[in-house]
Symmetry: C2
Subunit: 597 residues, 2 copies
C-alpha cells in the first residue's frame, strides 16, 4: 500500500524551497475585520519569464495546506503541489507564461502568520494573530503584484481556498485581471462543509497543548488536535467512490506503521500516517486561521447578493467543478455561473466527470479534461488579438449528426444585427462559429456533453455545461435577444417546458426541426406499417433513435397556436436538394425553421 | 433556534427508565472474537401484551446511541427514541404486538458494557472490556428471547446499527424470525463511513483523560474526545440539504450557549451543544466498543460472499433505505436486495425519497412512507392466514393508464403453471394480484414509483423499488420462468438493452404493447400529416406523451428477427371491442402480446 501513502502531497517537506523569495510590505496592513499587521512579509516563487509588455503573468492561488512551491524549478528541485499543471509545456506553460505563486497571509510557509514574530512584542503572534479574511490574503497578493510592477494579470487560477481567492480578486481588483479560473469553489461553504471545519478546529483548540494558541515556546505542540483535523479534512477531500477504490480491497489490513492513533483498518493506517506527517510541516494556529478565513468567505447565499458582488468583475471567467466533489458541490459553481450570466458577464463552465472528489484538481486522473480547459482558456486569452482569424476556418458544410447543416445560413439570416444569442444544445459550437463569421459576437452556448463543451472552450466559444432544463430556469425574462433550438426539439422530452422557458428568456426564438410528416415518411408508415426511417435526423431504428418526439410542421404550428406562441416567420427546406419549399411544406419539406416570440 | 437544539434525542436523560427490566445470563457468554464475559446482565423494556400462542412479538434493535427506552410506557413517562413509531395505534402498534427492546451488549444503558464491574476483579472493565461484535449482541438478545419462552419472533426491526442486528438475526437464527426489516443499513460500512468512525475513535482515545479506557475512578472523563466524536457523528447523520435548511438562514448567529468549544457559527453552537449534552448520558468506552463492532460487521463486499451469508435466512424481508442517506447509501441496501433475490428469498425494497439523511428513520418528516410500510409489512405478516381472501377483491377490469386491462387475462393464459414471474413496471400490482387469483403465487414486481411500491407492499405483493436497467443487470441467467413487460415497451428508451436483459433473466418473456401502426393511426398520419392520437395508450399529444417509442407489430417482429429472439406465441387484440384479431393484425389490432424466448 505504499502508493496509497506516498502521494505527491507527502513529498513536501518542512524545509522551505531554495527558490523562495520574500517581499516586505513597506507599510502597515489594515485588515478587513479590524486590527492591522506591521512588517508583513510575503513569500513567493516565480516560474518562466515576464514578457516585455508584462502581459503574460498568471497568479496561482493555493489551497489550505499548499504553499508557494507550486512546481519544480528544475529537474533537481523538489516537486511542488501542482506539478502536473505547471511547468514547461504543461497546461500552465512556464515557457509561455510568467507564473507567480505566494504563500497566503496567515500561512506558515514563509508569509507572515501566527508562527511569525510580532514586531511589537518580539514574541510569536500565537493567540494574538488577528482574524484574517480572503480579502486580506488577496490584498497582500495585490501588493506583491504591484511590487513586481505588473499592471494587469493575464489570469488568476486556483482550487478550493485558491478558488475563493480568485473570486475575491475578480471582485476586489476588477481592472487588474483579464481572466479568472476558480476551480472546485463556491460562493460560500455549505453548512456541511462549515461543520466539518468547526469540528476540526474544535479538535485543535481543545488539545491541551494548544494553550489558546501560545505553544511555540513549549516542547509539546497541539499535534494530536492538528492530526485529527487533517484526518477529517482528508475524508472530505476524497469521494466515497475513490475511498472505496483505494481501501476496500484490503480493508482489514492496515499498514504496519508506528502511530499513537488507531490502526485497525487499512484506511485507518492511511489517515494516521497522513495526520502525523502533516504536523511535521504545518502549524496548528495557521490551520485555525486559514480555515476560519474559508468559513467567513461569503459572496452571498442568495442570487441577488451573489449578483451584486460579482457585478463588479470585468474579467472573462472559466468555472470548473467536479461531479464527485461533495465538499464544494457542483451546484455551487453553477450558482456562480448563473449569477455571472445574469450580470451579462463572459463566463464558461464545465462540470468535469470525475470520481476523485474535491481533490480532483490536484490529481492526474482527470487532468486531460481540466488541464486541457486551463491550457486553452489561458492560451486563448493570451492570443486574443490573433484569435478572430482562427475562427474563419469554420466549415459551414460540416456534417453534424447525419446531415449537412445548410440550415445554419438560414438561421443566421433570421437574426437581427447585434443580437445576443443563446444556442441551446450547441454541440461543438459550429452554429456559433458560423454566427461569429457573420458578425454576431455575443453568443452563449449550452451543451450537456463534456467533450463538446471542451471543444467549444478550445474554440473560444462561451459555453455552459448544463442540461436545458436547469439552465433555462436560471435566466431572467428577455435576457437574450434570440434563443436558438436547432435540430434539438425532437430529442427533448419536455417540449412544452423548454419552449415556454425559451420564449420567456429571449425576445425571439428560433426552432428548427426535421418534419416527421415529410411525404416519404408518411408513405412508408401508411403502406408498410413500420416506423418510418429516412436518411437524416430520422435515420434511426424505432428502438434506438435518440429522438423521442416526432413533430410535423402542422403539429408545431398547432402547438404554437394552442400555447399562444406567435410565429413571426417560418421557412421550410428540402435539405437534400438544398432548396426552400413553398408548396404544402408539411408534405414536401424535410425540415422547418420557425422564428417565434 | 431552540427547536433546533431540543430534539427528542436531547430529552433523553442520564436516568434509566423506571420500566427497565434486567435479565442475568445464567452462564458464561463466549464471544465471537475470543474471550468471554461472566454474569452478563441485559437491560430491556417491553410494551403491549404477548398473545397466547406467543406469535406477536416484535424485537426492536437500537442504533449506536439508543437504548431500551424506545417509547413512553404511559402518558407520564419520558419519551423514548422511537416515539413516532412505537405505541398504541402507531406503525408498530403496541395494542397488537408485544414489543421488546433491549440495550445492546457493550452499551452503557443497563446492559453489561465497559462501564460495568468485572466480576473477576470487582473493578470496572474499562480497558479490559473485550472486542465484541454484532453477532455477540444478537446472541445476547437471543438468550433474552429464549428466557421469555418465545420460540419465534414475528419480526425484527431496526435502523443503522439496529439494521445490522436485524441482518445478523436473520442469518444466525433463521428459524427464530418470521420477518426482518433492516432500515438504513448495509452489508458493511463504506470506507468513508469507516473512516469517520476511525477519526471519532481517535478523538476519544487520544483524549488525555481517556487513560487507555481506565478513567472511571477519576474525576475527569474523556468528555472532549467523546463530544468531538458526537459532533462528527451528527454531521454524518444529516444530509447536506437538511443542514442547509436548518442553519443557512442564520449561519453567523450562534446560540448564546456556554461551551468550551467554538461557537462562531449557528451550526457550531448546535454541534457544541449536542456534543456536551451527549457526554452526560453516554460512556466513551461504550462508544469505542460499539463503533468498533459497527466497523467489524461484514456480510461481504462481493455479491458471492453476501449471497452465501444471506442464503441461510428463512424470513420474509422488507428493506428500507433513504435517498439522501450518504452514510449508509441506498445502493448498499440494494446490494442486500440483489443478493437475497439471487438466493430466491422473499424480499421487498423501498428507497424512500427523503431530505433527512441517515437520521430519516428517527424523524417524523418521512414517517408517512416508512411508517406505513412498517405497519403494513408487520400487519400482513401477522394476518398471514387471513390474507389470501383479501386478494380476491381485485378488479380485473380496473382502469390503468387509459384503457381496460383485458390483456391481463390473455397474459395469464400464456404463463405455464407454477412459474416464477417477474413483472417489470408492475405499477400498483394489479397484474400480480390477478395472477395470484389465477393461482400464481411466486411473482416479483419491479416499480419505479414510490407510491405504487407502497401500495404493492400494502397488498402484500413482493416488490422492488428500482428502475428496470439497474435491477435487470443484477439477476442471473434464467432466474425467472417468465418476465412480463406489460404496456411498458413504448415508454422505455433503451428497448434493445431491456429486451436483451429480459430474455436473459427469464426463460420466457411476455411483451405487450399498443400497436402504433393500427389503421386509424396510419390514416390520421397519412391524411392529416399530424402525430396520430387515439383513445388509449396513444391518446397523448406529441409534445407531452409519456411514450418515447412507437413500435408497430411488424417493427417488433422484425426486431425479434434481427436480434435472434424467438417468438413463441403472439396474440393480437382489438381492446376496444375486446376481441382477438387474426386478419392483418399490424393494420387491425390496437394491441399485441408476444411470448418470446
Amino acid at each position: 500500500m505504499s502508493d496509497k501513502i506516498n502521494n505527491s502531497d507527502d513529498q513536501r517537506t518542512h524545509e522551505f524551497s531554495k527558490y523562495l523569495r520574500k517581499f516586505e510590505v513597506p507599510h502597515v496592513l489594515n485588515l478587513e475585520r479590524g486590527g492591522n499587521l506591521e512588517n508583513v512579509e510575503i513569500a513567493y516563487e516565480t516560474y518562466g519569464k515576464l514578457n516585455s509588455d508584462k502581459s503574460n503573468c498568471i497568479l496561482i492561488c493555493h489551497a489550505i495546506t499548499g504553499d508557494s512551491h507550486v512546481a519544480k524549478h528544475n529537474e533537481k528541485d523538489l516537486p511542488g503541489w501542482w506539478e502536473i499543471m505547471v511547468g514547461p509545456g504543461k497546461p500552465i506553460d512556464t515557457n509561455k507564461f510568467f507564473v507567480v505563486c505566494s504563500n497566503v497571509l496567515g500561512g506558515c510557509r514563509g508569509t507572515t502568520g501566527p508562527n511569525s514574530k510580532n514586531p511589537k512584542t518580539n514574541n510569536y503572534y500565537g493567540a494574538d494573530f488577528p482574524v484574517i479574511t480572503i480579502k486580506d490574503m488577496v490584498l497582500l497578493q495585490k501588493i506583491l503584484i504591484d511590487s513586481l510592477d505588473i499592471k494587469q494579470l493575464l489570469g488568476v487560477v486556483g482550487g478550493s481556498l485558491g478558488g475563493f481567492q480568485c473570486l475575491e480578486w475578480a471582485t476586489q481588483y476588477p481592472e487588474m485581471i483579464k481572466t479568472c479560473l476558480p476551480i472546485a469553489s463556491s460562493p460560500r461553504l455549505t453548512t456541511q462543509g462549515l461543520a466539518f471545519d468547526v469540528v476540526a478546529r474544535n479538535a485543535i483548540i481543545s488539545d491541551p497543548n494548544f494553550n489558546s494558541g501560545d505553544y511555540y515556546d513549549f516542547e509539546n505542540k497541539p499535534d494530536i488536535g492538528l492530526a485529527l483535523a487533517r484526518m477529517l479534512g482528508h475524508i472530505t477531500y476524497l469521494s466515497r467512490e475513490s475511498m472505496n477504490e483505494k481501501f476496500e480491497i484490503d480493508r482489514n489490513n492496515p499498514r504496519n506503521i508506528s502511530t499513537s492513533f488507531e490502526k485497525k483498518f487499512s484506511v485507518g493506517s492511511y489517515l494516521a500516517y497522513q495526520g502525523e506527517r502533516f504536523v511535521e510541516r504545518f502549524d496548528a494556529n495557521s490551520y485555525v486561521t486559514l480555515s476560519t478565513a474559508l468559513d467567513l468567505f461569503d459572496l452571498g447565499s442568495e442570487k441577488k447578493q451573489l449578483k451584486e458582488n460579482l457585478s463588479k468583475s470585468k474579467c472573462k471567467w472559466m468555472i470548473i467543478s467536479f461531479t464527485s466533489d461533495w465538499l464544494y458541490p457542483p451546484y455551487q459553481s453553477f450558482d456562480i455561473v448563473d449569477a455571472l450570466l445574469s450580470e451579462s458577464k463572459n463566463v464558461s463552465y464545465c462540470n468535469i466527470k470525475s470520481n476523485s472528489g474535491h481533490d480532483a484538481f490536484l490529481l492526474s486522473t482527470d487532468i486531460e479534461s481540466y488541464g486541457e480547459i486551463t491550457r486553452e482558456f489561458f492560451s486563448n486569452a493570451f492570443n486574443f488579438d490573433n484569435k478572430k482569424s482562427k475562427n474563419t476556418k469554420v466549415n459551414t458544410k460540416v456534417k453534424i449528426g447525419l446531415t449537412n447543416r445548410i440550415d445554419f445560413q438560414y438561421i443566421s439570416d433570421l437574426i437581427p444585427e447585434n443580437s445576443t444569442i443563446l444556442d441551446l444544445g450547441c454541440e461543438n459550437g459550429e452554429l456559433i462559429k458560423n454566427l461569429s463569421i457573420t458578425g454576431f459576437s455575443n453568443s452563449l452556448g449550452v451543451e450537456i456533453n463534456q467533450s463538446n463543451v471542451i471543444e467549444c472552450i478550445s474554440s473560444d466559444i462561451q459555453v455552459v455545461h448544463s442540461d436545458l432544463d436547469s439552465i433555462l430556469l436560471k435566466f431572467y425574462d428577455n435576457q437574450f435577444d434570440v434563443a436558438v433550438l436547432s435540430q434539438t426539439l425532437q430529442s427533448i422530452k419536455n417540449v412544452e417546458k423548454i419552449l415556454k422557458q425559451m420564449t420567456r428568456v429571449a425576445e425571439y426564438s428560433i426552432v428548427s426541426f426535421p418534419n416527421f410528416a415529410f411525404k416519404p415518411m408518411r408513405e412508408m408508415f401508411f403502406n408498410e406499417g413500420k416506423a418510418p426511417k429516412i436518411k437524416g435526423w430520422y435515420g434511426y431504428n424505432w428502438y434506438d433513435t435518440p429522438n423521442v418526439r416526432f413533430p410535423s410542421i402542422d403539429d408545431f404550428k398547432e402547438f404554437c397556436d394552442d400555447k399562444n406562441i406567435n410565429i413571426e416567420k417560418s421557412l421550410y427546406l428540402d435539405t437534400i436538394n438544398n432548396k426552400k419549399i413553398i408548396d404544402d411544406p408539411n408534405l414536401n419539406a424535410d425540415s422547418a425553421i420557425f422564428l417565434i416570440s
